[in-house]
C-alpha cells in the first residue's frame, strides 16, 4: 500500500495541469479526475442485498388486467338493458295502483342495504 501511495505522489506532480483542469471545469461533471482514474459517486453491486434464507411470507394477489368486453357481450348487455326498460315502463304503470304498499315496504327493506353500501365508511379513525 505504501508503494502505491509513493507512486501516486510521483505521478501527481507530473499531472498537475490535469487536476487544475478539473478545478476550472464546470461543477456539473459527474466525476473528478484523479491521476487518470475517474472518481464518481457510485452504488456498488456488492452492497446489494442478498437473501440467505427465504422467509415464508403471505402471497399477494397480483394486479388484475380487466377483461375487455367483446362486441357480442356489449350488444347483449345493451339489448338486455333496452328490454328491461321497455318492460319497466308498462309494469310501472300497472303497479302504480296495485300494491304500492308492498313495493314501498320492499323499497324500505332494500334501502338500508343500499344506503349502507353507498355511505360505506372508508375513512376509519386509525388511518
Amino acid at each position: 500500500m505504501g508503494d502505491l501511495e509513493d507512486g501516486v505522489l510521483h505521478t501527481a506532480l507530473g499531472e498537475l495541469n490535469i487536476s487544475m483542469a478539473t478545478e476550472t471545469g464546470e461543477g456539473n461533471e459527474r466525476f473528478i479526475m484523479a491521476h487518470g482514474v475517474k472518481l464518481e459517486e457510485k452504488l456498488w453491486v456488492d452492497e446489494c442485498y442478498l437473501f440467505q434464507d427465504e422467509s415464508i411470507a403471505p402471497i399477494f394477489c397480483k394486479p388484475k388486467l380487466i377483461p375487455l368486453k367483446t362486441i357480442t357481450t356489449q350488444k347483449l348487455e345493451q339489448m338486455q338493458k333496452e328490454q328491461m326498460e321497455k318492460l319497466q315502463v308498462p309494469e310501472g304503470k300497472e303497479d302504480d295502483t296495485v300494491s304500492v304498499e308492498s313495493e314501498g315496504a320492499e323499497r324500505d327493506d332494500a334501502q338500508p342495504s343500499t344506503s349502507e353500501t353507498k355511505e360505506a365508511d372508508v375513512w376509519t379513525a386509525d388511518d
Partner: protein, 506 residues
Amino acid sequence: MSDDPVIEFTGFIKACRLFRENRLPEAEVVCTNLLRKNPLDQATWALKLQCLSDSTYVDELENEDMGLAETFLDQNVIAPSARPGTSFQRPKTTAKGINPILRPSTNAGRPLSGVVRPQSAFKSGSMDQAVRTARTAKTARAVSSTSARNMRLGTASMAAGADGEFVNLARIKLPKYAADPQVNRQLFEYVFYFVNDIKVAHEIAGIASKAAEFEDYYWKNQLAKCYLRLGMLQDATKQLQSSLQQRKLIETFALLAKTYNRVDQPMAALRTYAEGLDAFSEDVTMLTGMARVQEALGEYELSINFYKRVLDAQSNNIEAIACVATTYYYGGKPEIALRYYRRILQMGVSSPELFMNIGLCCLAAQQFDFALSSIIRAQATMTEDVAADVWYNIGQVMVDVGDLPSAARAYRLALTHDPDHSESLVNLGILRHREGRTDEARSLFGSAISKNPLMFEGNYNLALVCAAQGKYHECRRLIERALEAFPDHDHCKRMLNSLKPLYEAI
C-alpha cells in the same frame, strides 16, 4: 337544389329498401301497416318476420350461457378423471410457466383471459353455493334452469307492439308454412331468435328438413342449433356431421366444435377446427376457436400463436389483441403488452378497462407519467360493473409505490363496490397482517375463502396465519385446498410434509 321529382317508395318496395338499409324499426312499421290492409300478404309477412328476428339476432356461436341445471346436472361428462391437458376441468398448471402465483384466476377458477367470456360452463363449488351467489355479482350464473339471457331475450316478444303477439304460434298451421320454402326460413328464425320457443322452432326445422328430403345443409344446421339449445348434444353432433358431408361451411365446423366443447372434449374440438382450417385456410373463426380452446386448457404459448395468426388475417380483432397482451403482461414483458393495448386504443375503443390496463402496463414498464394519466382517466370514466376492479388495481399501484395506508383505503373502496371481490379481501388481509392486526386479517382471509373457495392465495395465507397461531388442523385443511388449486406449489408441499408428522408420529 334542382327540381327533380323526388322518388318516394311506397308499399312493399319501401319496406324492402328500409330493410336493406338496416333501418329495422321503420321497416317493421311499414310492414305492419301493409299487413293491416292485407293480412294475407305472405311476402310482407315474411319480411316482417325477418325484421323482428334480425333485431334480436345473436350469433349462436358466441352464445354460451348455461343455466344452473345444465351446469350441475350435466350428464354429458364423458371422462370424469381426465389426464391434465385433455379436459377443460383440468388445465395444465405446472411449476414452470403460468401458475396461480404469476397469473391470477377469476372467481370461477379459470385463469384470467383478455376478454370477458360469456362461458360459464365450469362447476366451481357446489350447487348450493352457486345458488347462494347473488344475482348481481359480476360472475354469477343464472339461477334458473333455462338460461337467464335467453329468458331476457324472450321478453322482447312480450314487449312487442301494441298489437300483441305477432304470430300466434299455438294456432299457426306449422306443417303448411314450414314446408313452404318461401317463408319457412324467416319463420324459423323468428321463432328461434325472437320468440325463443325452441320446441316450436325444432318442429319447424324438422318439417322443413323432411320437406327438403334431408338434403338441405341449412336445415341440418338449424336443427343442430335447436338441439344445442335443448342440450341434446348427440343429436346435434349427428346433424352437423351429415351437414358437413353435404357442404363444408365455416358455421358448421364452428358449431360442431362448440358441441365438443360442451361435452368437455377439447381434443375433438381442436381436430374439428383443424379440419375447418384445411377447408378454409386462415379463417378467423376457426383460428379464434382454436386459440380459445388452447387458452382454456392452459396452453398459453400455443394460444398466442393462434391469436397472432388471427391478427395476420384480421388486424382489428379486439379479442386477439387483448388476449395476446394479457399473456405478455403476465409473462413479464409489459412493454410488448403496452404496444398491443395501444393498438386497441388507436382503433377508437375507449373503455375504462382499456385505460386501466394501459396504466398497469405503463407502470410495469416504468413509464410513470403516462401510467398516472391513464389511471386517472380510467377512474374518471369507470362504470359500476368494473369499479371494483379499477379500485383494486389502484390499490396495487399504491402498494408498488409503498403508500400502504392509501392502498388499504383503495381496497376498501373496491369492497364497497363489490363486497365479494376476493382479491381485495386477501390483499387487505395481508396489509392488516403486516400491521399486526392478526384477527382482522384472519376474518378477511376467511371471507375471501368463503366467497371463492378455490382461490389459492386466500387459502395459503390463512394457512400461514393458522400455523403461526398453532391451529394445525385448520392449517392442514387449508393447505390441502390450496394444493387443489396449484398442485405443485413447493412451499405448500413442504408445509404439508412438516404437518404430517404431527399427526402420524406415535
